[in-house]
């Protein structure tokens, strides 16, 4: 499941990169820092990426998920810290949905 999630995130990164300035474009890697210290995205860039990820995850798994999270802007515990933590978060949501 995790590989499919990462692929969905990478497609979303391709999509989001189209609207980012060259210096802000994201690399397709689990280690890519997204938001917070060392991250390329401001809050609006994060919104753009997250909405693309939601769409790609829905298309890949046929399960709509809302990636809204109250810790989104947290420096330490945000699921949007890097691509890997985002994939972990999506995996939890998809599992919760499957068990609901």
């Amino acid at each position: 499941m995790r590989d499919r999630i990462l692929e969905a995130i990478f497609r979303a990164i391709d999509d989001a990169n189209d609207s980012f300035a060259p210096a802000d474009r994201l690399a397709k890697s689990a280690e890519t820092v997204l938001y917070g210290p060392g991250g390329n995205l401001d809050s609006l860039g994060l919104v753009t990426l997250v909405l693309s990820v939601e769409r790609e995850v829905d298309d890949e798994f046929g399960t709509p998920v809302s990636l809204a999270d109250e810790k989104a802007m947290s420096q330490k515990t945000s699921p949007f810290r890097n691509v890997g933590t985002l994939a972990d978060y999506i995996e939890v949501l998809l599992t919760e949905n499957a068990n609901a």
């Binding site: 609006l44 909405l51 939601e54 769409r55 829905d58």
Partner: protein, 233 residues
């Protein structure tokens, strides 16, 4: 002209919502409606979802389906609303929660999910429903009026958050219209309320659609964060 002609309207089973669904279908729009119960009517160009507007999972699922069927949407009319006319000292907390769930949480969820489908085209119109009960500060409507005050605040802030996506967010504040919403309100109370309006009559469905038309108009792209109170509140 907008790329999409799809309009989502909540609370379309009866009353103003049903009228608006029929009105916009007649104007050539594709209308997607919803309510807790099945619509009970069929219209070409109209599709219905049965859900509670405050149920996040169901709302997200509905918009996922709408995206797959239509791609994008142009308009959202957050009409679904419930009221309770009662002195605050006699109002159970459950009633207040129910009112806020539908009027505030429902409006928030639909705005959030609709904006996601409007954003790629950089074009969208969101119209929320306020009420004259808020500026009139009506006794006996603490829960209803305060929930709609929250809707006004939501409208004003989302207008700023969504502006850069070409999405306008406005609200219409109807006067009492003769629907189920006010069925149980005593006549003398309703008369006193209408006496506080500049124009002293019940609102009609066409008064509401006229204001919604203005906000939905593609040319209203410089109008956002505004509330039109009908009847001169």
């Amino acid at each position: 002209m907008p790329e999409s002609n799809v309009i989502v309207i909540t609370g379309t089973r009866k009353g103003i919502g049903q009228y608006l669904a029929q009105y916009y279908v007649e104007k050539g729009h594709c209308v997607v409606g919803c309510s807790r119960e099945p619509a009970g009517y069929d219209l070409e160009g109209y599709s219905h979802y049965t859900l509670d507007v405050s149920n996040e999972r169901d709302v997200v699922k509905m918009f996922s389906d709408v995206r797959k069927r239509f791609g994008a949407i142009y308009g959202l009319v957050n009409n679904a609303g419930i009221a309770s006319m009662n002195h605050s000292l006699l109002t159970p907390l459950k009633t207040v929660q129910r009112i806020f769930d539908t009027n505030v949480m429902g409006t928030f969820l639909f705005c959030r999910e609709a904006a996601k489908l409007m954003r790629p085209a950089k074009c969208g119109r969101i119209i929320n429903f306020a009420t004259v009960a808020t500026p009139f500060k009506l006794e006996g409507e603490a829960a209803y009026a305060s929930s709609k005050a929250a809707v006004v605040s939501l409208t004003e802030i989302l207008a700023r958050e969504y502006a850069e996506y070409g999405i306008t967010v406005n609200a219409v504040g109807p006067t009492p219209v003769q629907t189920d919403l006010i069925r149980s309100v005593p006549k003398d109370k309703m008369s006193r309320l209408i006496d506080r309006q500049a124009i002293k009559r019940f609102g009609e469905f066409r008064d509401v659609s006229n204001a919604v038309d203005f906000f939905l108009n593609p040319q209203s792209d410089f109008v956002t964060g505004q509330v039109i109170y009908l009847g001169g509140a």
